[in-house]
Amino acid sequence: MEPLTRALFAPVPRGRVAAFRTLVYLFVFLDLLIFTPWVRSHASVPGELYQPLLVGRLLPLPTPTPLLVHGVFWVLLVTALAAATGRAPRLLGWTVFALYFEWMVIAMSYGKVDHDRFGFLVALAALATVGRARHGDATLTEAGGWALRVTQISVVCTYFLAAFAKLRFGGIDWVTSSVLARAIIRRGTDLADLIAQVPYLLILAQFGIVAFELLSPLIFVVRDRWRYRGIAFFYGFHVVTYATITISFAPHLVAMTAFLPLERVRPIEWVRRRFARTPAAAGT
């Protein structure tokens, strides 16, 4: 138990939490505008087509109207931007989490549930529990370590438990089925159409997918260098998925940055330093 709790609360620099926070909240902003703009168009879909998810019935959340959908959209847009600055992390964090969750209920209560954002939702909830964290601050924080760790675990669960879903819904025959051929027929790119012509390649890919999903938890036990290679492989998997069937899993990709030393990415600091240097150089 002791090593497990130590791993769960392994501290990280506050700067990493700050960078992850900015990235996650900026993604909410972009998700509304660019990645899943269709959610907003549920505003003018008749309420009869709304079939609320269990959580929507339990709470109980109202049937979306244009006012509700556009209201959540605009308030979420503004609060996500404010949260990205790192100010009022708990108040803004919980507000964004609640609004984004409602946004997801609006998104997925019309007959189709997506599976690309469990890790992202966990990141939103966990970030709201971490207090202030300044960019570049090297002070270690256990609360921040836990938030990043549970996001990492959720990301890996998305792979690992997907293997069990395949066994449950498809059975052992999944690996030799025509599931990828079907996906390519329904939404394949030109590249995918080419790949589909190669005998047995799709079946080989299906074996590969199950192997990678079952092995994904190893990411937690390998050393740094192999962990980063593993993460690069995960990202590579999604690049191929996007190139062949245009499924991006964008929120999942953002959550996966919880594995990276984000505190080293300081775009504003780099720009500031550049400007600080320029006048000095001109003076000499």
Partner: protein
Amino acid sequence: MDTLTAAGRTGRLLATLVAGALLLAGTIWGVDDDFPFGPFRMYSTAPGPDEPAPDTRVEGVESGGAVVPLTERNTGIRRAEIEGQMAAYQADPSRLRQVADAYASHNPGAPALVEVRIVVRREGVRDSRPTGTHTDETVARWNP
């Protein structure tokens, strides 16, 4: 270093265990309805190696006979959402009126539709590879 209090640790540990248990239960017994704890069942079905692949589309017909594809872009309804509620559309094709209404409210000024239909194209598959052949079937049709 910022260390957590004993209460802070316990609360977080409990939250982790509860969420983990819900996700595990969702994977074993859950369905999509249990979002966000439902099973990660994307592409989890196992269609047979020679089983045709259904490719669904929704079409509207204007009074002049022109066929308009009804998509996420011009109705706000995703194809997967049509497929998710397919049984309801087949049992009661008049539900397609909602799709026509969504199209009308997304495209004010567009000619009214005299027919809305769901067409399933079955693409041939052999040895888990597409054959390039297909047949179309209209599975639900509604005329105002």
